[in-house]
């Protein structure tokens, strides 16, 4: 797989706004529209671009979400390590992200539900009783200040001079 600066420019632009029109993409990467489209096609085929998705504010859509981080201590399995149990947990649609981590716990997942009850019962009934799970810790998320690189608070920027040389 050969990646060059132009590819990385395209990825940077799409990561910020995946609906950027092809004409704009071509301009911003200094390519022809045909070449920009062809390069994006290759990046999709290669799985460098995994998916295009919308960032939705479900609270505004009338469906507020509750989220929690769940840390798990897991007994690894011979031949499989943590992979098999992780795949099992990852299948639940409630699990938004799942990672193997260093430190006291082994797996960390981000869980979403409609309310706290959904979260706690999911952990108690679905996750905790699984084989190989030794311990769970549920950490409710109370407020999100930053997500996916975007801060949710406004800061007054300093005034720049209108013209400087």
């Amino acid at each position: 797989m050969t990646m060059d600066d132009k590819d990385r420019l395209l990825l940077t632009i799409l990561e910020d706004d995946s609906r950027t029109p092809i004409a704009d993409l071509a301009d911003m990467a200094d390519l022809s529209e045909e070449e920009a489209a062809a390069r994006i096609g290759i990046l999709e085929e290669q799985g460098v671009i995994r998916k295009y998705r919308a960032v939705v504010d479900w609270e505004k859509a009338g469906e507020p979400e509750v989220a929690a981080i769940i840390d798990l201590k897991v007994n690894p399995e011979r031949d499989f390590g943590y992979d098999k149990i992780a795949e099992r947990i990852g299948r639940f649609s409630q699990v938004r992200s799942l990672r193997l981590i260093s430190g006291v716990y082994d797996l960390q997942l981000l869980l979403v539900g409609r309310n706290i009850h959904e979260i706690t019962s999911f952990v108690a009934e679905q996750i905790a009783p699984m084989d190989h799970i030794r311990e769970t810790a549920t950490i409710l998320i109370m407020k999100t200040y930053k997500e996916n690189g975007h801060t949710f608070f406004e800061r007054e920027g300093g005034e720049r001079l209108p013209i400087s040389l």
């Binding site: 600066d5 301009d27 300093g158 209108p162 013209i163």
Partner: protein, 385 residues
């Protein structure tokens, strides 16, 4: 009462953009492409390091040269990024921005009566600083047909028995032009033949878009006769911190350090702490900003060409430098009318030197959205001519 203002202070020209500055101040809804600084805030880890150091009571003078840790970090950085080597103990002075570094460099080497060749178009402070040191600035024009690089023949033509030094700035403000190894070799021959000193302001080094920056002193013949200036303002969005540095062979550096010591004592300690953090842990932020400038450059320059303002693709800095020759307007008239009729502020090229006349400096260190609006407004303006 006598006129207390010294002749030299009276002689240096006022800033060429005062008028624009005043006009912009009084207008609403102006998109300014006239700002020669990043639109990003300084990366937070850099701010945090400075805040923490203040909380810890780190508020006193540092050594004149600059904190030794910072000198080491800078020389390591220069080696890593540009393959140039300076001694952190003897060949560097940390200054209050490149502005101070330039003034110190000039005063270190210029005697009254000396001529200093200044490659134009250039940043506006060079010639006044030369004059304040009693020297005579001699402009040499970098032409569009040469990619706004310094042509060795043009340089040779400007040399006289009085010439002491040559000032260059690549990547260039305002043209965005860059110099490569072959270009430096060509001017090195002239500089060595006439036994001159080179002062190379490389503040835009990190903002090089195709390939990586070539530092003047990578040409061996220039190493012993060059003062390299650089800093943190552009690469790390740290303009307001006023932190830069000067690197030169020991004998020159020793003299520069004396001047710096008497006029500045030391660069502000909090800015030095911030600079250490910038060099240690901010390359990711720096590279992300450079990539964003590259995206903006591409869309803006292609946009300018599409709407009928011919513009070369600049390889460095964050300025587009379109020509207005085909519009029949002078750069000054174009800039004044564009501001008053469409609310877009740009800087007329003539401010930067004779060869910049007929061009505009448009800083694309503004958001993509504002660049799009600016392009629309310029297009409307052109349609009305």
């Amino acid at each position: 009462m006598r006129d207390f203002v010294a002749a030299q202070a009276r002689k240096i020209p006022p800033s060429g953009i005062r008028k624009f500055f005043d006009m912009v101040q009084d207008m609403e809804d102006v998109i300014s492409l006239g700002v020669g600084e990043p639109d990003f805030a300084t990366p937070w880890n850099i701010c945090e390091a400075a805040i923490y150091s203040i909380e810890q009571g780190s508020t006193s003078y540092t050594s004149n040269r600059g904190m030794s840790v910072l000198c080491q970090e800078i020389t390591r950085y220069l080696d890593d990024r540009f393959s140039i080597r300076y001694s952190p103990e003897t060949e560097i002075v940390v200054t209050s921005g490149v502005s101070e570094a330039f003034d110190v460099a000039i005063r270190t080497v210029v005697d009254p009566g000396d001529e200093v060749i200044v490659a134009e178009p250039s940043f506006v402070a060079y010639s006044p600083c030369v004059m304040l040191a009693g020297g005579t600035p001699v402009p040499v024009q970098c032409r569009e047909e040469d990619g706004f690089r310094l042509n060795a023949d043009a340089l040779a033509d400007a040399v006289t028995p009085k010439t002491k030094a040559v000032v260059i700035n690549f990547p260039n403000n305002p043209t965005g032009g860059v110099m490569r190894t072959a270009d430096y070799r060509a001017i090195a021959d002239v500089i060595v033949d006439h036994d001159l000193l080179l002062i190379s302001d490389e503040i835009y080094a990190e903002l090089t878009y195709e390939g990586s920056h070539t530092s003047a002193v990578t040409v061996d013949a220039l190493r012993e006769r060059t003062i390299t200036l650089n800093g943190f303002s552009k690469a790390y969005a740290m303009t307001g911190w006023r932190i830069g540095f000067l690197c030169a062979p020991k004998e020159i550096c020793d003299a520069a350090l004396k001047i710096h010591q008497y006029v500045m004592m030391c660069a502000p300690v909090m800015a030095q702490v911030a600079a250490i953090e910038a060099l240690r842990r901010s390359s990711r932020e720096r590279d992300a900003m450079v990539r964003e400038y590259c995206i903006r450059r591409n869309m803006f320059v292609r946009g300018l060409n599409r709407i009928g303002l011919p513009c070369h693709m600049p390889n460095g800095a964050f300025y587009a430098f379109p020509s207005v020759a085909e519009t029949g307007l002078s750069d000054l008239a174009f800039a004044e009318r564009l501001l008053s009729e469409q609310g877009v502020a740009v800087v007329p090229g003539r401010v930067f030197g004779e060869s910049a006349e007929g061009h505009l400096r448009c800083a694309y260190a503004v958001s993509r959205d504002n660049l799009r609006i600016a392009l629309d407004r310029i297009e409307t303006f052109l349609a009305g001519l």
